[in-house]
């Protein structure tokens, strides 16, 4: 009786259903857990954090500490003793806090540890301010005075903060103007100068020595120099302007430190903010993060060039990989005689998808960069040698390498799509007097286009997340300029670029200030995931549209 029941239970299929549901749940939990972890750690970074003022018992006296609580953990007292900390705590566990005290230029380090039993008091004074600076990281302190042209601004202590905000804003506007002149206008002049230099060099290499030409170039150069001088003097004025104000702050060690406002990006008083103001600052910080250039070896500022580089590279890769993959698949499925050789090719293509990506990176470096790029330089850019143009990693080689990496995916997906087109539809077209090519072009390929998009979606997902090969063929820690700008020919395929994946690695493991950069790793990872999702959603939208359009009998 019991035996029969048992068999009945297994035969009913219930355990299978549970097993399958369990597998699905575990996968879902893992994916959601991953996203939530990245989102919480990454997005939390932009919230204006409270600045604590702590009276700390240390070296037999009381020290005043000012800073953000970055991380708090529970440590056993015994462990501390073993680690060499002399104490006589009664508790078995104490709270250990990693305090971000900032002011690296003053103290030499911007983090320190505190133990909860030694904190005599902790408060959140309203008037503590945080300065986000262009260098040396954050600055924490109390505002003491504001100076304009070296003269202290006369105002009551209460009004000092109100005096500061507009000045920071002014500096911000000036900085924008300076960077606009430096980046676009002087950048354009430099670009033209470099072109002129290359022209001169090309003339020398060709052995031509024509006075007219030389004179023309000299005039052009003189004109450019003149433009440059004009811009330079405008810049000098702006630089003088931006250096006008300075603030003096009282830091936790009791010193007074003067900081020129030209180095300040943002000034906030988080302890005095209402929740609503904090929300406002939060989104402001988030927008700055995705739209600004990085500062201080990527540990501060934004990641805009990395987002731009990633999207650009993925788009370029898509443009390269789609026609290649589709044409190869059409040949394999529609024209090639199905036999041993086609089978061999198909197996090879499938296996190509399993080759580790770094191998593609090595190939890209060895073949694209050195062989192709080197020869292109010899043939078309001899005047720039010995500095390479295409002969070093760049956007084009990175896109090509990734296209090679993802072409098997597109081929397989397209082939499957072609195989699914019903024979009856092809025969219908042929019976009307269409040739095979016409049938392919007018009927089969449009009907297989959703499958091609599926291939492209998979390719994009793989390429956008790839880092290892990019390190060899063109992704860099900091690219001096974007691959797309206003200087002809606008798209600079030879330029190196920044990439979110590489940025994560760089910030997380190669940065001088790992503690400060850690939240940025999560935030950048989140942005990378968001970029990939966005790219994929676009492709999925297009695919669904195509599917709807070419819906057939079976569906």
């Amino acid at each position: 009786m019991t035996d029969n029941k048992k068999i009945g239970f297994f035969q009913s299929g219930t355990p299978w259903v549970w097993l399958n549901a369990g597998a699905v749940s575990i996968s879902m939990i893992m994916v959601i857990g991953l996203l939530v972890l990245i989102a919480v750690r990454g997005l939390g970074h932009f919230w204006p954090k409270a600045i604590w003022q702590i009276e700390y018992a240390e070296n037999g006296g009381i020290t005043k500490l000012i800073g953000e609580r970055a991380k708090t953990e529970s440590v056993s007292a015994r462990q501390l003793r073993e680690a060499g900390v002399k104490h006589n705590f009664e508790e078995e566990f104490v709270e250990r806090t990693l305090l971000k005290i900032g002011n690296r230029d003053v103290y030499g380090f911007d983090f320190r540890l505190t133990l909860s039993p030694l904190e005599n008091s902790a408060s959140l004074p309203q008037d503590l301010i945080v300065l986000e600076r262009t260098e040396w990281g954050n600055f924490y302190g109390e505002l003491v005075a504001i100076e304009e042209n070296g003269v202290s601004v006369q105002t009551s202590m209460e009004d000092l903060w109100d005096e500061l905000s507009p000045r920071v804003k002014r500096v911000d506007e000036l900085r924008d103007r300076i960077s606009k002149i430096e980046k676009s206008e002087i950048g354009a002049i430099n670009f033209k100068m470099e072109k002129l230099r290359l022209q001169t060099r090309a003339m020398e290499l060709a052995g031509r020595d024509e006075a007219d030409e030389k004179a023309g170039m000299a005039t052009k150069k003189a004109a450019l120099d003149e433009d440059y001088e004009a811009l330079k003097s405008r810049l000098d004025v702006l630089y003088a302007e931006i250096r006008r104000d300075a603030v003096t702050l009282h830091v936790m060690t009791g010193e007074e430190v003067s900081i020129n406002l030209s180095k300040v990006v943002k000034a906030t008083r988080p302890n005095a903010m209402s929740t609503l103001t904090k929300v406002g600052h939060y989104f402001g910080n988030l927008i700055d993060f995705v739209s600004d250039d990085p500062r201080e070896a990527n540990t501060e500022g934004g990641i805009f060039p990395a987002i731009f580089g990633t999207v650009m590279m993925v788009l370029l890769m898509s443009i390269i990989v789609t026609p290649f993959g589709v044409i190869a698949a059409i040949y394999l499925r529609e024209y090639a005689k199905q036999g041993f050789v086609t089978r061999l090719v198909r197996i090879s293509v499938n296996n190509l998808a399993g080759v580790p990506s770094i191998v593609y990176g090595v190939f890209g470096l060895g073949f694209f960069v050195y062989v192709l790029g080197g020869n292109i330089d010899q043939l078309f850019y001899p005047e720039a040698l010995p500095s390479p143009t295409f002969g070093s990693g760049g956007l084009m080689w990175a896109s090509l390498t990734l296209a090679l990496l993802t072409v098997p995916v597109v081929i397989v997906a397209t082939e499957e799509g072609l195989a699914r087109i019903p024979r009856s539809v092809r025969e219908g077209s042929l019976a009307l007097g269409a040739t095979k090519a016409e049938t392919l072009w007018r009927i089969v390929i449009p009907m297989a286009s959703p499958a091609m998009m599926t291939g492209l979606i998979l390719a994009v997902a793989r390429a956008a997340g790839e880092v290892a090969p990019l390190m060899l063929v063109g992704a860099v820690k900091l690219a001096p300029s974007l691959p797309l700008d206003m200087n002809a020919p606008f798209l600079h395929l030879e330029r190196k670029f920044m990439h979110l994946g590489f940025h994560i690695y760089d910030v997380g493991f190669q940065s001088p200030n790992v503690e400060a950069a850690r939240p940025l790793v999560y935030a950048t990872a989140l942005i990378l995931v968001a970029v990939i999702i966005l790219l994929n959603l676009t492709a999925i939208y297009i695919r669904n549209h195509l599917r709807e359009k070419y819906r057939t009998l079976e569906q």
């Binding site: 025969e427 219908g428 019976a431 007097g433 269409a434 040739t435 057939t552």
Partner: protein
């Protein structure tokens, strides 16, 4: 001779005529076909008259569809096919090297068992063959699309929604659309491979009425499993069995007085 399931009033409209009095469109002479080592057609000798409906009947696998597909060389697409003998269209062998297959298929249109519209609008489905011929004049295309849809008895149903997707039509409408698509290129011959077998009785009736209309302008060759359908729509009928042509003649003669024992057995339902 008794023909229990075919009533003789089916043949009222069909004049009894001999094949020798007809104008011949397609001629098979000792036509044989084999897939690899398996022979599918054995020495078929057949004359298909112009502007008449000719039906091929026979049990499944007897080779009637294969023979039909040879008439516009659709079998070219299948690997490992060998043919011998001749298949002539107006006296010219269609299997020689200098015959342009696409031109042949424009002259000999084909409609398949399952409706196979393209995933395009109704208009574009019918215009497809015209565009292939390089016709770009919009009014000419519109005229011919309308003409085709009128002649395939579909205009009344779809005339006001030509820009809808062809898959929005019912099965019977799709099959008539496919016929419209085939006649739009003005073929001489229309090959119908069991055109109504996937349709409901009302749609089947409409298709049969349409075939009756079409045969005044086209040479219609129809493969069917349904003997009543063959009796209703065709002027001539060929009975194939195991790859051999057993009997061919005017439909009313074949059904009322079959000359062969096998034919009689088949049409009286003793096998097949």
């Amino acid at each position: 001779m008794a023909t229990p399931n075919i009533s003789s009033d089916l043949f009222q409209n069909q004049p009894s005529r001999s094949i020798d009095q007809e104008d011949i469109c397609i001629t098979c002479e000792d036509f044989s076909l084999s897939y690899g080592t398996k022979q599918a057609l054995f020495d078929i000798n057949l004359k298909i008259p112009t502007n008449r409906a000719t039906a091929f009947i026979g049990p499944s696998g007897c080779g009637k569809s294969t023979l039909l597909r040879c008439m516009n060389r659709m079998n070219d697409l299948i690997d490992g096919i060998n043919i011998s003998g001749q298949m002539k269209l107006h006296g010219q062998d269609i299997n020689t090297r200098d015959v342009n297959v696409t031109e042949l298929r424009q002259q000999v249109g084909m409609v398949f068992q399952k409706p196979n519209p393209f995933p395009k609008t109704i208009f574009e489905n019918v215009a497809y063959g015209l565009r292939l011929q390089g016709i770009t004049n919009r009014t000419e295309i519109e005229d011919r699309v309308e003409w085709s849809l009128v002649n395939s008895a579909l205009w009344g149903e779809v005339g006001d929604r030509l820009q809808d997707n062809a898959f929005s039509l019912s099965g019977g409408q799709q099959q008539r659309l496919v016929i419209a698509r085939a006649i739009a290129v003005r073929p001489q011959v229309l090959l119908l491979d069991e055109p109504a077998s996937a349709l409901d009785p009302i749609s089947t009736l409409k298709i049969e009425e349409l075939i009756a209309e079409l045969k005044s302008q086209y040479t219609v060759v129809i493969v069917t499993h349904n003997m009543q359908q063959a009796a209703r729509v065709s002027d001539y009928t060929a009975f194939l069995y195991l790859g051999k042509l057993i009997e061919f003649g005017p439909t009313n003669v074949l059904f009322t007085a079959p000359g062969e024992r096998q034919t009689e057995d088949y049409i009286t339902g003793r096998y097949g």
